[in-house]
Symmetry: C2
Subunit: 324 residues, 2 copies
């Protein structure tokens, strides 16, 4: 007999759906929801732009009567608090007749934090939780970092030659990486709420920093400038890596000074390293001083999480290995 | 019916055997030979240290009477010239009663260069040639480069941080890469006839440059110093990348000056990039000036030929993409 998908397989689909809400679901978490009945998907939902409807509300709306007796897979604990913008999702799941709810991660928001699970169980619904929590948290990293650490999730992008240069000595850097790597960089822009550059990069490259991918033009993020001075029109001045308080995800695009300031402050959560198969020699280094006192201190901080070829360039993604 | 190995499969084994002779078969090419009869391997041979016996002679010696009617797979055309050190291998194959010879690459040595094939065919032996020639030439690259271009095959090794540094600004570089990457570096030493460093590296690190792998201690290569001055005892002074004439393979181990001199002279055939998952920031760059006039000129020169993880370090191997 052929075995159908297990709970973990369905949850992986719900988590994949949750990626669609990133970053447009802000200020709400980007959640994914899958409703399954008798081994078949009857509805899919994900947090909509601006944060409403929630993933569960969207999926229940699609499922209609088919929700009765079904299992809902949700990447974050359903909320327990009603708001002027809509009812609590745990109540909506109960009202729709859902028989079983599988949850990836418990909601750290104190208004829910276990209350959603308790309410479902009190209504006689079978609840399974901690199904792929690390995977769900990774996709919700911006919201999660904001809610648990009170700061944005920061990705640092470096595009270098094999010898680690980001430009020739005269500053010329068009182009180090190829089309596919640059397109991937634009996709990363589209999944961040803000992009940040330093003053040198603004002056040298006058970067547009918009998303130049068909269908995603409206995803162009907010533009931040790392400076103790004024920012030009269309830009927001940020005095230090610690001073970002109104976005949950920031992509640091350059240059070496901005990158190094974020690394020195230990405010980088994820590294995107695009590397072209070229050698430059005596070019502009990717980083300035990051405050490394001893080579031993450099080890154990970064864990490879993804690696792929983009044309003839390689992308390596590293995540900051933090304690606990 | 299960299909047995095809000619290309057997040849791949012969080419793998040929690797064993590198670099100890010098001044002769490192050839591999497999003798197969009725679908079974009856003998294996590879060029022995110092160049004799040849691969075919070794394999025929093992096969004895079993060679009669068998197929010989040879990674290089069997030689057609007898020498005081032994008979021509094409004559030996004929005398042993080999029925069929499959050859990867034709011998560029003018004393053979087609004569071996002709002699085998004249004796009524079926000859198949051009079976995996590129693969065979790659394994024989040092000998091949010496015979076709009159210069050694040069591998450049760089061990860097993610931001392309080979040391901290104060010169400290112990250790950037981990145990497995360093052991791989020693294995690379063992497959080269000579290792080269620049004067700065000699002064700063006083490198032993020997092979510290159990069973391969006797493979420690000749030590070359890139300098216009004198070399200390145990070292040979090399005035320029063009001035190496008595070895077929050189591993350039550092530092940035020596690496850049070989790159600027376009004398690097293969790049070994060991990269540790650390960031240094304002460290010593891997390269100095390599004479790059325009970023566009940097593209298309290097082709990724191998990539693997060595513990938490990544090794990328690039080969110089040359015309023709």
């Amino acid at each position: 007999m052929q075995r159908g998908p297990a709970d973990a397989d369905w949850m992986a689909v719900a988590i994949a759906l949750s990626r669609r809400g990133r970053p447009v679901s802000a200020p709400n978490p980007n959640v994914g929801c899958l409703i399954v009945k008798e081994g078949k998907v009857v509805a899919r939902g994900w947090t909509q732009p601006g944060g409403r409807p929630h993933a569960e509300a969207m999926a229940l709306g699609v499922a209609g009567d088919a929700a009765r007796g079904a299992t809902a897979y949700v990447s974050l604990e359903p909320c327990a608090h009603a708001s002027p913008r809509g009812p609590a999702c745990s109540d909506s799941l109960i009202a729709a007749g859902i028989a079983r709810v599988v949850i990836a991660a418990q909601d750290p928001d104190p208004r829910t934090d276990g209350n959603g699970i308790a309410r479902l169980q009190a209504a006689g619904i079978e609840v399974v939780f901690n199904m792929l929590p690390a995977e769900a948290r990774a996709v919700m990293a911006p919201w999660w970092t904001r809610h648990t650490e009170g700061r944005p999730f920061v990705t640092l992008k470096l595009a270098t030659s094999l010898d680690g240069c980001i430009a020739r000595a005269d500053g010329s850097s068009r182009w180090i990486t190829g089309d596919r790597a640059r397109a991937h960089g634009h996709l990363e822009r589209a999944s961040h709420q803000a992009i940040l550059v330093g003053r040198g990069t603004l002056a040298a490259d006058a970067p547009r920093l918009d998303v130049r991918l068909s269908g995603l033009e409206d995803r162009s993020p907010k533009k931040l400038l790392l400076t103790t001075g004024e920012a030009p029109e269309g830009w927001t001045a940020i005095a230090s890596p610690q001073a970002i308080d109104d976005v949950d995800s920031v992509l640091v695009e350059g240059g070496a000074g901005a990158a190094s300031a974020f690394l020195a402050a230990d405010r980088v959560d994820r590294l995107l390293l695009y590397r072209a198969p070229i050698l430059i020699g005596r070019g502009k280094p990717a980083l300035a001083d990051i405050g490394l006192a001893d080579l031993a201190d450099a080890h154990g901080r970064w864990r490879l999480s993804d690696s792929r070829m983009l044309g003839s360039d390689r992308l390596d993604v590293y995540e900051r290995a933090r304690e606990g």
